[in-house]
Symmetry: D2
């Protein structure tokens, strides 16, 4: 298994490279009878689309999805749903300067060591465009989950050293600013920070948080397929993610048991927790509370600055990576995080 | 799939509860012709065994492994290796005080919501004893990896706010102190800290670091089965782990691209990196450098302090959990982290 | 994946060799709350046990099963059920005459070519004793299916050229005679035939039929995981099986469409078929009728007659295989066929 | 898992319905560096295309394949290969007469019972057109196998009661006649037989044989993933197949051990068998001989004759299925059998 399929019962298989004819995904295991249109999927693809702000490259990709199978008379039939986005504007520019170079921070060297061959155009399979298939499939998962009262919302909480003020948390603000921050003030500061970095031909890392509401207690498996283990797998499989935590995450290191345990109480006949240090998952199984995940997203590795590296011939060289690079990856990763979380949860719910 | 099997080509299926007749694992996909004895496995089980220090409960478990199949004349035959550890001293004490109670910080409530039934003795399937199967299987993976020049070493770097001094890092010290810290001075401080917590009937979280050396460049898959994604899955599937990071991990959030990128250079005809912010993995594929993982381990949820909670009947009650509880989980998790890392890497290498 | 695990949601992993310490299986995915005792499983193991007739070798195997996990207070807990049968009487005889010989009709040569090493005692992993794990796991599947009104019954319909008379079909007779034939008269003739073969140091093939009743319409998947495809996989994975057919099977070759189609009609508000040429499966999905499978079982390859073959050194030699060989495999395969059919159906039902 | 993915290491996921926008497959796990063009695949699709003889419907499908990913500069890159065939001429005719009817011999009723909804146009997902994805993926597997000296050839050996004369076996004849029979004389007789059936508005079953040459000894797994078990799974997953046998298959029922065992001998330093009753597989592992599989293919269920059946409302009705139906399925299944055999073998070889 070369790992292009995710999930056990609700599965998605993605395919496609940055500069190939098209990219897409096949979703297998979707229940029959769910209303599904290309519109339902397009709204998510539009959120991941580049060229929408000062901090994302202006590309002319329309990224229009087509449903090729699995839907009949507007409803899913239970058979595989094939989704395709054609690469309309990927005119291959001149790649001669990077085609045999191992760009720092990129997968180039690993690909070369693994396959001995690589599609160097725009990163090939390791391009961010690969997430098109994830987002398209995730849109279907999100639709199924919504019908079950489950909602997923991700956003950026920190860029460089600029953090949101939890007291000022404004969910509506997330879609209003191009950095997907739920705090206008933090967005403005981060915006200035990023503009400074762009002048310095540099980029920034960021923190993405994702909250899943409405998952009932009892979802997950007790050993390897713990709900948090599968979520960590899903989120860490997104290109630039270098760390994943659930609930209090790395803060538990300096916590005491008496601080970290969430006491249970009854509320209207339902078991509830007084706090949510667990992030909604205990022993790999949901506890009925909000599921809280955070992902550390590294700075865009493609920067304009001169960097020293080596090429396939083993020569040490300097490169300045041309083209258009976003100064930050995270805002575009937000919808991908939501998609991967949705695919993970749907896989359990349909189990 | 109920998720008791890990891996795709080199697979391990664990079974067993805290107070059942036995616990064990079946390893499928082990190559034929590898020398393997019960001794090879026992050394790892002895490292995870409780009752070995001030900070681990004194239990009389011998945890002796038996190889029941797959080995003939001292060598593996390529067929499934069945490993079993009998539960010799799990005399069921009186569990009447906790049998229908949802202990804070434990999986009790999730199990009840999921299955409607649970083996409440010692945590049942969600007990730390489940890791016996993982460690036994991991010992086989470690043996295979060692023959290929790959070594795995985990240790504790932080307990509460007490951190090791990287300048004083002493690998030999790890096995000398019961907290598995590679710095004698930090161990002594942490030791005092934990003794204080024990007096206060409390427990502490900790940070475990794991370094994998000798993995060649080119191991991993570019999309869902990224090497770091599978490692995150493996490590997060360990009971008390709430966060996983690779390389600089969560520090990337405040880093710039120019700080975070590792520049390549040539050394004796081999591609090397000047730094290792990536933690040995780029784009899901190993880059030939040391693989560095860190796991946040939460404080032992079983504490002697009085806690308020609810029971299966929906009554709000107070509990004081009796028995013997370790004030810290992490040192016993160290060998489990090594085992899970080994199982993950072996699964790729044998692919 | 070395293929010791069967199933996707209700999975069984078998382990063990003919002359190892024990054999067993781990069942994962069994629902919680099902009453299960060792008795429930032992009855099926007793049916596959050798030493029960003129046509089966007298061995002293008690084949007593132990449930090591997954059952608490007499009920399944939803966690893996580990089943073990110890090899009490497998005193290794002198195997020096066959240890490096490739016995005709056996897997010896293939094992040698594949692994370069093999446990030659009693066939090792390719021994019929491997089916102990299948039958033990199948007993659990059969219990689950029975609660859902599904029943499975296999029997021998033909031995050599002696066939049962369908008009004289007597279900009760199956368990009364050691050849598991549902026709006393056919049994007596087959019995004489086999006694003659034994005098001639030879063995016979046979046909096993299996009928599954009570499967509702709509079970199966339309493409690769067709119900009949998974059944063929399951049944063909039994050692001596060389052919599998569903419904009219190979007879369809000379049939016309008008003869082979089963017309639908209504009966008490339910859709029924006038005939059952389909064997209960159309397009990979159950049609509500009895599922009918037949398996061709080859003659025991171990015969007393002198045969010419080669050994690991490449010498051409003659062998006469000593020990005790059954003149027919099929009667002991009957319960294995039931077990594999049950594991297959349970995997769908639990899906 | 809804079963649209086949294979463990070399996997294919098919998608598409008879009358959807397109059909296709995603192949994951193909090694990097293999030369691959659309031409390589098209030749196999052309062999399965209808409209080529008196015995296949004249449809205007061009069935032109596009490679959408995974190939760069004419070579595979190791990433998923997405294959698509657009449905150019599937103008939906008027299906009002069959849209709520359960056609005898078809999957209609099972689909309805399973999903509650179905794409009734041309059989939807259970249409023979679903095999486009299999054949396209199989073409890639066949290319890989050929480079390793493995060849696969299928043909029709029997139609109704007309059988080929083994003495007159002519491999070149297979592609010369539209019934894919390796015996001109048998083809002519079968041709007359089928013309008679067409006048009687009826159809015929047939037997397909497939021979795989060049598989070295040692391929397969000893328990569930026996080579013959996976082949049976693969072949039985083809729509109209009702039986699968390996080597002597069902003939073993009346054979003796001394007749059925293949004796080994040495030939130029290689272990060979004097006969091939085993069909190239012993104990689930290849023995180095030709692998011989036979599949029983049922008569086309769509016939012009009046048949009685029921509809979704539970009314008993008579139908005469209009449109163009082939009087025989088997010749078009020949290339599908080759494709499924190739996908199965490739999955082991790449393992």
């Amino acid at each position: 298994m070369s790992g292009s399929t995710f999930g056990k019962n609700f599965t998605v298989t993605t395919w496609g490279e940055s500069h190939g004819a098209a990219l897409g995904a096949v979703v297998d295991g979707c229940p029959a009878g769910i209303e599904l249109s290309e519109e339902d999927i397009q709204v998510y693809l539009d959120r991941r689309k580049p060229g929408q702000s000062d901090f994302a490259t202006k590309r002319n990709e329309s990224d229009t999805v087509k449903i090729l199978s699995g839907v009949f008379d507007g409803k899913t039939t239970g058979t595989p749903i094939s989704l395709m986005v054609e690469n309309t504007s990927q005119i291959s520019k001149d790649y001669s300067d990077i085609k045999d170079v191992f760009r720092p921070g990129h997968a180039d060297y690993g690909f070369y060591a693994k396959y001995g061959i690589r599609d160097y155009r725009g990163g090939g399979r390791s391009s961010g465009r690969e997430t098109i298939g994830r987002v398209a499939a995730g849109a279907i998962a999100l639709k199924i989950l919504k019908e079950k009262g489950i909602d997923i919302c991700a956003y950026v909480t920190k860029i460089g050293d600029i953090e949101i003020d939890r007291a000022a948390f404004d969910k509506d603000e997330i879609r209003r600013n191009p950095l997907c921050m739920p705090d206008r003030n933090a967005f403005e500061k981060a915006s200035d920070y990023l503009k400074g970095l762009m002048e310095e031909k540099d980029s920034s890392g960021a923190l993405v948080e994702c909250v899943i509401t409405g998952v009932p207690a009892g979802i997950g498996e007790p050993v390897f397929d713990k709900l948090d283990a599968r979520l960590a797998y899903a989120i860490m499989s997104i290109g630039a993610v270098k760390g994943v935590e659930i609930g209090d995450g790395f803060d538990v290191v300096s916590k005491r048991g008496s601080e970290n345990n969430d006491e249970f109480f009854m509320s209207d006949g339902t078991v509830k927790k007084k706090t949510n240090h667990s992030g909604g998952i205990l022993g790999g199984i949901s506890d009925g509370d909000d599921i809280v995940i955070r992902a550390a997203v590294k700075p865009t590795p493609s920067i304009y600055r001169k960097q020293s590296t080596v090429n396939e011939s083993g020569d040490e060289i300097d490169i300045e990576i041309k083209g258009r690079h976003d100064p930050i990856v995270a805002p575009r990763a937000v919808v991908v995080v939501e998609a991967m979380a949705a695919l993970t949860i749907a896989d359990y719910i349909i189990r």
